[in-house]
């Protein structure tokens, strides 16, 4: 078991309860997708696992998170990175004044030797050839898709075992989304475990082999990715497809009977 999230509860600023007992497990080398509406607590789940929740005044108040058998909840982010648990944050946080290559070098901050850094940079370039073309360009001037590739490449520098990716398709053109997900598929092939948080349910479930659906700080549904794709609730609420598999028209919305039963 690579990652085990056990009944985790997260409270922000000591007063706002965001996660209300989240459970999930993940095998080494697998890929899971975490889906859900805005404000469901997806990003908070990721932040709790990687530890950056601390910088947002949040705390894991009960339950446990285990990575490779070790407790990682409420640990420092740096120590988690050293364990190989890397978080790629939403919004493409490149270091904008540095060149692409410098960004990658900083990504390899935990590596001990310069030779290792060079070797990993070459690795990243073979995996994401676009970055090799851009290596001397200032990161802040890249397009959104290129920046997204850069942050994924930067995460690869730190010798990751599990990459947590938050909304890789945020604000990207459909073609770019395809490109980014192609890279994620490549990563899977190379044996790195992926944990994807996405609004783009279709794209995420295509890469993932297991999916979780979140709502109001709880996991409300989970299952194999292809099962979820066929699930009628998922199709209705997250894929925007009705039972016939056609895109809804406004008329259908008016007659729409299905509701989120899990909200009680």
């Amino acid at each position: 078991m690579l990652l085990k999230v056990n009944n985790v509860e997260v409270i922000y600023n000591d007063v706002i309860l965001v996660l209300k007992g989240v459970n999930m497990t993940m095998e080494e080398g697998s890929c899971i997708a975490l889906l859900g509406a805005n404000g469901a607590g997806k990003t908070t789940t990721l932040a709790a696992i990687s530890g950056i929740i601390k910088s947002e005044d949040g705390k894991v108040t009960s339950g446990s998170i285990e990575f490779d058998g070790q407790r990682v909840d409420n640990q420092s982010v740096e120590s988690n990175v050293a364990r190989g648990l890397i978080h790629v944050m939403e919004g493409r946080k490149v270091l904008q004044h540095m060149t692409v290559e410098k960004n990658l070098i900083v990504g390899g901050h935990v590596l001990k030797s310069g030779a290792e850094v060079k070797q990993r940079i070459e690795n990243v370039y073979t995996l994401i050839p676009r970055l090799a073309e851009l290596r001397k360009r200032t990161a802040g001037y890249l397009s959104g898709g290129e920046q997204q590739m850069l942050v994924i490449g930067r995460a690869l520098m730190a010798n990751p075992r599990l990459i947590l990716i938050d909304e890789p398709s945020l604000g990207l053109a459909p073609l770019m989304v395809e490109e980014v997900f192609k890279i994620l598929k490549e990563l899977r092939k190379s044996g790195i475990s992926l944990f994807i948080v996405e609004q783009n349910t279709q794209a995420a479930l295509e890469v993932a082999d297991y999916g979780y659906v979140m709502e109001n700080g709880r996991i409300v549904m989970d299952g194999e990715a292809d099962q979820l794709m066929k699930n009628e609730d998922v199709r209705e609420f997250y894929l925007g497809l009705n039972m016939e598999g056609e895109r809804k028209s406004y008329r259908d919305v008016k007659h729409y009977k299905r509701r989120k039963r899990w909200l009680g």
């Binding site: 950056i52 982010v77 270091l95 540095m98 901050h109």
Partner: protein, 352 residues
Amino acid sequence: MALQPSGVFFENYSHDKALIKTKYQWLSLAIFGIFLLLVPFLFGPRIIAVANIMIIMAVVAVGLQITTGYAGQINLGQAAFMGVGAYTAGLVATQFSLPFWISIPLGGVAAAAFGYIFGLSAVRIKGFYLALTTIAAQFIFHFAILNLPTSWFGGSNGLTLEPASLFGFEFKTDSSFYYLALIICTVMVIGAFGIVRSRYGRAFVAVRDDDVASSMMGINVVATKASAFLVGAFFAGIGGGLWAYYVRFVSVDQFTLFNSVWFVAMIIVGGSGSIVGALIGVFLIRLINELVTSIGPVVSEAFPFIGGDIVFAAMNIILGGVICLFVIYEPKGLMYRWNIMKTSYRIWPFPH
């Protein structure tokens, strides 16, 4: 902005990484170096004195550039750190009669320790709040010196030092001290380049650009911010030690909040995030400062009806105005403009 002159290609990593990349850069550096060495022969004593002050300030401003320009931690207490260095160097030199090559580094170490304590506050606060905390450094320094027993730091009387000496040679005159200061400054500037190009320097810039994202890369943000203050204060302490040996008199009035603001002004004018920018800023601000103070008396003599007081007040206003103009029209500093000019020259005749 990473454009190289046409025809310059790199065939290996070491050439690509080199700081000085072309023959002409070596040539101009050599000419500049020779010019610096000849300053005491070319100019009169007044200019040499100005040059000495500039060199000392340069060490301090380069330190501030690392803390503020590279690591992004606003520091309005650089003069206090410099003062700690000056007092420590002065104290060990007078009480234990240690030679300058021990007392100046000791000043640096003491200032670094003092700076580190304030750097730790940067862990929790950012921006304006951090600036306020570093102003506190300024006042703590002031209070401590004035209220501690006079036998320690001389209280309001200050400390008086013997000139620095090496193998019996005393750096008494301005021109002899010039070479001493130039050597120390060169070492410090080379050291600064080394720091900002190392993994620690990259960590500084990463923390400046985005501290949460940089923690996601395994950078220890707390340690990085505190060490940015440590390094910056060390430079200030070395500068303070030099100051103590140059002026041979140390008192709290030499290291006020006003001076700290000047240091910040220097790196803004020069361009934050560039070591050379800090040097240019020091040169420019001190030059304007000197011009204003030397033009003042001339003006009040030529036009006696204006009255001396008004002229001197006006000069300060002009000096402040220059800073305002810079912040409004060139907030990224001269180095930024220079880089744009260089790039547009290199891509000429194309506009972009």
